[in-house]
Symmetry: C2
């Protein structure tokens, strides 16, 4: 098989340097007769903080140590082999999904992983440790399995041919009724755009509507399909795009507790149980365009709503009582209380009540004229 | 809002002509004082047949009538309004998802749909009726919500700018590490390719692997990510691509009953409970490349397998006893019995046991050298 052209050298070098330095320390300990140890950040919820200014859930300073002993010999070896696997993948510009990593270990003899939960946990430890050095899981070459969402609009993605290294440019304004499917790692991409914002959309149907009617052309934007809670690749793509091009990110999702506290919240501040990756994946600059509880009134959607389910209500109450992100923002507290008082939820498709083109001709232009009123 | 350029005129004309002729008949009945009726194919399983030569589950001849009476007045009106909606969408080159259709009805006064199950059933009736005239749901402008899968390889998709009508060409060999995301309707697409086959892949991770290593370049093929059971758009895309370009379709999925009887079977012959759409969506020319039970032996994957779960076993036994497709093919009966005897399943990622590049350097080339041995 032909060897791929390496990604940006500085990233590659950083990953290899980190792995080499850890390996060198382990070796040095052994050579002086000391039991080596590895340090990892604690990945539990009580080691997670939310700082409104930083804008995302973050890992705290707590660390756990894995010292080589009789009982830890296997997991110690697994950790080192997994780091070696990562190093080899960087060298060969290759990558592995979590599932593949698990299978790779089948040839490791006694230190093979018994099930994927075991390899995932080890990988998460390495990832958390690397994150403290500014390296993401993708830079370790562990790629997510899941689909990367679709993109269309005023954007040229600058990629490379993985084999020849030649520059490849993808004009996302010129894909007809189709779209650009985000790759599982976006670290090597760069962008050119004259868009004024990124619109992140919950449903595939709404994405297709805005794309088929070239909403992005006149609205001067880039549209991204999240397809429910956005995957890692989608979140990282939006983040890098927004950071490098200095573009605001507006979210267009359903008006229900799931849309607020799962889809939007995950995009903006990340999730509590993967805090070590939030610094790479979350999009603190995101704002909530709609659909808001107030939109139900302002756009006459009352008869296109559905009653909140007991699960919706529980999710909303949980957010008010326990979610540090919601609790830090009075606007969100008010919006969720308003929704609970109304007792209904509304989907973004509910706008079709006024005609299929209403969302494009009325709703989005009216909302976009008042970005200052978007929820934080 | 600017009006989109219509799709291929003959399709548009056929849809409008069908709706107009049904409406004219209803009107003629009313004008002579007769109660009008509408005829729909019965969409129940006992009106489904499997013909090995045709290669897909097909609706039988049984019909149900919906005559206008006091009790049917509402559903009769809903059916006519839904057909009128379809006609309007054809005229304006617009479309609606199932969910949007439900919301559109919120402005229909007394004949609004109470829930989406009701509008879905009515839409399925219209779709089944149209299918008897060779028209698909997409031609009625009812689009699926779900994502359309990713494509890369030796293929140029010829689309159009929905607003200007200008031709747009997407070179799927030139999208870097990204891919082409299939739109929700593919009826207006045409293709240019020098590929020799289409490879339909179950998992996103394997798709990304084959894409990043440009497998399609040397293997001279087009790769399509199914992401589990392929969506309608993905199935239709593969079907139209294969039909028009005369390309064989090979499937690369997990070796388990779900992979055989859900993912592969759905792609190839469709599903029993949506028989009226199978003629447009299924890919009878598909063949099963692997992973086969015999591959577990031939490629030494025994220690990278997992025991069959009780659910796997039940699914396999059901297929042997009840699935007309499996029962029509002795090769599949033998394969499933072999799997049951082995008592294990193997994922396509299990090949990573021999190294990440094994699937590209060994497995796929060996399999593709013997396409005649693929399962039917």
């Amino acid at each position: 098989m032909k060897k791929n052209v390496p990604q940006a050298a500085h990233t590659t070098d950083k990953t290899i340097a980190l792995i080499d330095s850890i390996a060198a320390q382990v070796r040095a300990d052994i050579e002086v007769g000391k039991l080596p140890d590895l340090k990892f950040p604690v990945r539990a919820l009580d080691n997670v903080t939310y700082d409104k200014r930083k804008g995302y859930f973050e890992l705290g300073a707590a660390e756990k140590e894995r010292t080589l002993t009789v009982t830890t010999a296997r997991s110690f070896a697994q950790t080192l082999r997994l780091m070696a696997t990562s190093r080899t993948m960087v060298e060969h510009d290759d990558f592995a999904t979590k599932r593949e990593v698990y299978y790779i270990s089948k040839n490791w003899g006694d230190c093979r992983f018994d099930d994927q939960a075991e390899s995932d946990a080890t990988m998460d430890d390495i990832e958390a440790m690397a994150s403290m050095h500014g390296l993401s899981r993708e830079q370790l070459r562990f790629y997510p399995e899941s689909h990367g969402g679709s993109v269309a609009g005023r954007l040229t993605v600058v990629d490379r041919n993985p084999l020849s290294g030649a520059t490849v440019e993808i004009d996302c304004a010129n894909l007809g009724s189709g779209a650009y499917s985000i790759p599982r790692s976006v670290e090597h991409l760069s962008f050119r755009t004259d868009a004024q914002f990124v619109l992140a959309i919950e449903t595939g149907g709404m994405f297709q509507r805005l794309n088929n009617h070239r909403f992005w052309e006149t609205a001067r934007c880039i549209i991204v399909e999240m397809g429910g809670v956005p995957t890692r690749a989608t979140r990282r793509f939006i983040r890098v795009l927004s950071d490098t091009q200095n573009l605001p990110v507006y979210c267009f999702v359903d008006c229900d507790p799931y849309g607020f506290t799962n889809i939007y919240r995950t995009l903006k501040v990340g999730s509590g149980n993967a805090a070590h990756v939030n610094r790479f994946l979350c999009v603190p600059q995101a704002h909530f365009l709609g659909v808001t509880p107030q939109d139900i009134v302002d756009f006459g959607l009352e008869d296109a709503t559905h009653p909140l389910s007991p699960r919706d209500i529980k999710r909303a109450q949980d957010a008010l009582e326990n979610d540090p992100f919601i609790m830090a923002h009075p606007e969100w507290i008010a919006a969720i209380k308003e929704l609970l008082a109304m007792g209904v939820r509304a989907e973004q498709q509910a706008l079709a009540k006024w005609g299929l083109d209403y969302v494009i001709s009325e709703y989005l232009p009216k909302k976009l004229a008042n970005t200052g009123r978007f929820l934080p």
